[in-house]
Symmetry: C2
Subunit: 199 residues, 2 copies
């Protein structure tokens, strides 16, 4: 790797710490910033700090919020009787892009993982139990990831929440729309068979 | 697109202004910053400003420099009699990774483009002529891009500099190493034929 002037080398290193950014992308980004107007660089620089300083977690659902309560929990048009449980705040983005779900959310900030020492106490489950205790919630849709940790979390939540009198459902698993059976692994295909629907 | 809290939406917008970063990548980067330690966010934020504030152009070759003279011009191990002319500072990176070139550089900061109104006066050509006037330069290697603008710039430089008594050469064009003839366009193939070498 050639020598860059120190501030440029440092910016490249910082960009490389971001996910999906390798040496070449980091160089391209750094040279872009170098060519950009100082004003634009300032905006980016400030936006990075503001995200850390001005955002907190919603007191109800633990989603990212710029106030005490996030925009989904404070939206009275959304149905409080259906709560979709996700692992991370960015999972909400994917669900919102469907424009299908009109309920509320609950963010666990992780998934159970005995291997990595993540137990139920380290997830934001207590708040979910409290929300259900208030009696408004009718259904909990568990939208944790379809992997070992997400599945374990889903099973744990089902056992914990069903006795409280709520319906606990799991998002459907199967072949992605637009994909090809050829590319699906056997576990996905067997889930798709299990989850078949009458036409 | 779902609604993000304002600081997060702003950071996503700022990331999207960077080259090669679309909506999805910008979201991933922004959520990464959100999860990162404040210290790490500060380092990135500061590095962006430092690149604008602490770097200038080398007084000799117009490369990026954190002092008055860049590291290549101040390196006495490098041969001052061979000068490689490039369009942009980041082009030097590609040449340096070969570890083959031991001469000096000259950065034009652009290429001639009548269509976009870029004439010779807008490129840093004057300094190059002055360097040659000092008598130390023996060969100028024109490593501008192999496209219309870069080629026009190369032809212009050759006409301008040859009368000053220096050898002006152009980097070789042909089939990229590791590629396949099948994927090469006809102009590249004809350049490769022209540039053939006896074995």
């Amino acid at each position: 790797m050639p020598d860059f002037a120190e501030p440029l080398a440092r910016l490249i290193t910082e960009f490389k710490r971001l996910p999906g950014i390798g040496q070449k992308s980091a160089q391209r980004l750094a040279f872009h910033v170098l060519r950009a107007k100082r004003e634009d660089a300032e905006h980016l620089s400030q936006a990075i700090l503001d995200v850390k300083d001005k955002l907190g977690l919603c007191a109800v659902c633990n989603n990212i919020a710029d106030g005490e309560i996030c925009q989904y929990c404070s939206d009275s048009n959304r149905d409080p009787s259906v709560v979709c449980v996700v692992e991370e705040p960015h999972n909400i983005v994917g669900i919102e892009t469907t424009r299908q779900f009109e309920g509320r959310y609950h963010v666990l900030h992780g998934a159970l993982s005995p291997l990595r020492g993540v137990g139920p106490d380290m997830l934001k489950i207590k708040g979910l139990v409290e929300r259900i205790g208030q009696g408004e919630v009718r259904e909990v849709i568990v939208a944790t990831n379809p992997n070992v940790e997400g599945e374990a979390t889903a099973v744990y939540l089902a056992r914990l929440l069903k006795p409280l009198g709520v319906k606990v459902t799991r998002i459907g698993m199967g072949i992605p729309v637009g994909s090809d059976l050829e590319f699906a692994d056997e576990v996905t295909i067997s889930k798709a068979m299990e989850g078949r629907r009458e036409m």
